[in-house]
């Protein structure tokens, strides 16, 4: 009885997960285990999880039962591609720049319990390396059609002077009820230019918790576009350390939420040094009883002079029952910087809807046109045309469904 009482929610979850088959050093294993033993699921008292409750994870069946098989949608035709079906890397093809077999996984470098969980129950580790200027595109297609837990661990290295693009294409079958837990470590070396496009089109019952840890070296450029399109619960933690001078950092996000889905984007940009530029734009529409959480933090450290940092979050509520919790934060310790942040939440412009209807558009298509225009500002930032096209189509489908 004593045991049951002291069991944490993590303990409960772990009893239903299958330990990783990947090689882990004893030290790495112990570090991760110890972190998990001293943690529990975050609660409202934890500021970073104030509006997001993950208790539902323990209600997921994760019994491997399959929902409908689906044909995975591929986004980029010209990309090197890896297909990961329910966590299993299907094609182990020997592609230069893609590593999937390991002699030992690197040790945990964070204090994040879900990262430790990801390591101990890792279903596949993938390392992507870009080492030339050719802007190779690598697409990872994560297809989920079984109700199961997957824990991909991804390492992306964009070497000195290299250019690369990664498409993280998550897609679940319609009612899929999986637990996706992803840790991604990203290294952008000097003068490198890396773009990441992440599409989270999960099944309507899926929990998707993802973390990206980014390190940027001098004169580098990093772009990450995040598109949480569906899923019961989506949480993205993006942490970018800007460690070198003259860096450029771009974060864009567009989300379309409906039903009872919950989406939470937490971003942190830490400007540690001078002469850098960062720009963040997250926009989304919230319908039905859906909830969106945005928390964007920008740090400008004491020695980080001449920083230009801009951040904006805008939301449109399409229903009376949707919720938005938006918190832009700036912490500035330097004195010669240019920073701005802002957050807006509103409804579609009734006058614009009337204007469009008076020209013959139905109310539905007037709203759709206005929503597309609203999200269009984010999509314009997406330089990869295939990604942009795919997301535009998905937004259209979202409205026709």
């Amino acid at each position: 009885m004593e045991d049951v009482l002291t069991q944490t929610k993590f303990d409960l979850l772990r009893t239903r997960l299958k330990g990783t088959e990947l090689p882990l050093s004893e030290a790495a294993k112990q570090k991760a285990q110890s972190l998990l033993q001293h943690s529990d699921f975050p609660t409202r008292k934890n500021e970073a999880w104030k509006y997001t409750n993950v208790n539902g994870l323990n209600k997921l069946l994760l019994d491997g039962s399959s929902s409908n098989a689906s044909q995975p949608n591929i986004i980029s035709n010209g990309a090197e591609r890896l297909h990961i079906l329910n966590g299993c890397i299907s094609n182990q093809a020997d592609v230069p720049g893609i590593k999937t077999s390991w002699s030992s996984l690197p040790e945990l470098s964070t204090e994040e319990p879900f990262d430790a969980l990801n390591m101990l129950y890792c279903t596949g580790a993938i390392e992507l390396t870009f080492d030339d200027e050719k802007n190779k595109i690598i697409e990872l297609v994560f297809e989920n059609n079984c109700n199961t837990a997957i824990s991909p661990r991804i390492f992306i290295n964009c070497k000195k002077g290299a250019t690369g693009t990664v498409i993280l294409n998550f897609q679940g079958s319609e009612k899929n009820a999986s637990f996706i837990n992803v840790s991604t470590y990203i290294d952008v070396e000097e003068n490198a230019n890396l773009s990441i496009h992440k599409i989270q089109k999960n099944g309507t019952e899926t929990f998707d918790l993802q973390r990206e840890y980014v390190n940027q070296a001098a004169n580098s450029r990093f772009t990450i576009n995040t598109f949480p399109l569906s899923g019961k619960m989506t949480r993205n933690d993006l942490v970018i350390n800007v460690n070198g001078n003259n860096c450029e950092t771009f974060m864009n996000g567009a989300y379309t939420l409906k039903g009872k889905s919950h989406c939470d984007n937490h971003t942190t940009v830490d400007h540690k040094v001078a002469h850098c530029y960062s720009k963040e734009l997250y926009k989304g529409v919230i319908d039905d009883r859906a909830t969106n959480v945005f928390n964007g933090k920008v740090f400008v450290r004491k020695d980080a002079q001449k920083i230009n940092a801009f951040q904006s979050n805008a939301n449109i509520l399409l229903s009376e029952t949707g919720t938005v919790n938006s918190k832009p934060e700036l912490e500035i310790y330097a004195d010669d910087v240019k920073c701005s942040h802002g957050s807006t939440t509103g409804q579609l412009d009734e006058e614009a809807i009337f204007y469009l209807r008076s020209r013959g558009l139905t109310e539905k298509s007037a709203k759709e046109l206005l929503v597309k225009a609203f999200l269009g500002e984010v999509l314009e930032e997406v330089d990869n045309r295939e990604v942009r096209y795919y997301v535009e189509k998905e937004i259209e489908l979202h409205f026709s469904a």
Partner: protein
């Protein structure tokens, strides 16, 4: 008068907004091929009439009826009215960032065609039409591809209204104070556009506060709207008389009557 030519028949229309009665028994009939001007002092109900015809939902209709080509207009949604061929040129055209003029117009034309069970317009046909119709109002073709009214000058906005009217080719156009805020050159261009589009099959209701516009768009009838009703109807000379004498004599005449 030949009944079949009736385009719109407004009978004894009463309307409130927020409990306040604005229209108090307005009656007006417009036939195909005619241009009717509605003039009147501020607060007479001119813009209310335009809003009600276009289907703004804030107004409560307490009595009366409006028949548009035989259909009960007040029972139709705003878009259904547009599908039947009603067009409102807004007094304050709305800026819609991110929605391109052409994209929106193509959607509008296709939805109107769909409602009529016609085939959608081809891209080629549409672009040819944009080129042709933008000339009517001397609208630079770059404005056609920009966001709807965003950053347009007052004159450009009003020319864009007439451009949209040309593209949609309505049966009845209601121009709500289209002359407000226009300089004389823009006024001339807008009026020329309206005149070019005039035909025996369509009609327009021109709502204005000033006679000036009527130098360029010559009306067949001039109506004076005062205190929610049409109190006087005459020919274009009535507009000149109003310009000269103002509205006070109408008010007095109405009160005496």
């Amino acid at each position: 008068m030949d009944k079949s030519k009736d385009m719109i028949e407004i009978k004894n229309l009463h309307a409130n907004i927020e409990g306040k009665e604005i229209l108090k028994g307005l009656t007006l009939t417009v036939n195909a091929g005619e241009v009717h001007a509605i003039m009147g002092p501020n607060g007479a109900g001119k813009s209310t009439l335009a809003s009600i015809l276009a289907g703004r939902e804030e107004y409560e209709i307490t009595a009366g009826e409006v028949s548009f080509e035989g259909a009960d207009l007040l029972e139709l949604s705003t878009e259904e009215r547009a599908h039947l061929g009603l067009f409102l040129a807004f007094q304050y055209p709305v800026e819609i960032p991110g929605v391109s003029n052409v994209n929106f117009l193509r959607t509008a034309i296709n939805e109107i065609r769909e409602a009529k069970k016609e085939k959608p317009i081809s891209a080629k046909e549409f672009m040819a039409m944009v080129r042709e119709k933008s000339k009517i109002v001397e609208l630079d073709s770059s404005l056609a591809s920009r966001s709807v009214n965003e950053g347009f000058s007052g004159g450009e906005k009003k020319r864009n209204e007439i451009f949209q009217m040309a593209m949609l080719n309505p049966k009845l156009a209601v121009l709500d104070e289209t002359d407000s805020g226009l300089d004389i050159d823009a006024l001339r261009i807008v009026a020329k556009g309206v005149n070019t589009l005039k035909s025996a099959e369509n009609a327009s209701i021109v709502i204005t506060h000033y006679q000036r516009l009527l130098d360029y768009i010559v009306p067949d009838f001039v109506h004076v709207l005062y205190d929610g009703r049409i109190v006087k109807t005459g020919s274009k000379e009535l507009a000149l008389e109003l310009e000269e004498k103002g509205y006070d004599w109408i008010k007095e005449e109405t009160q005496v009557g």
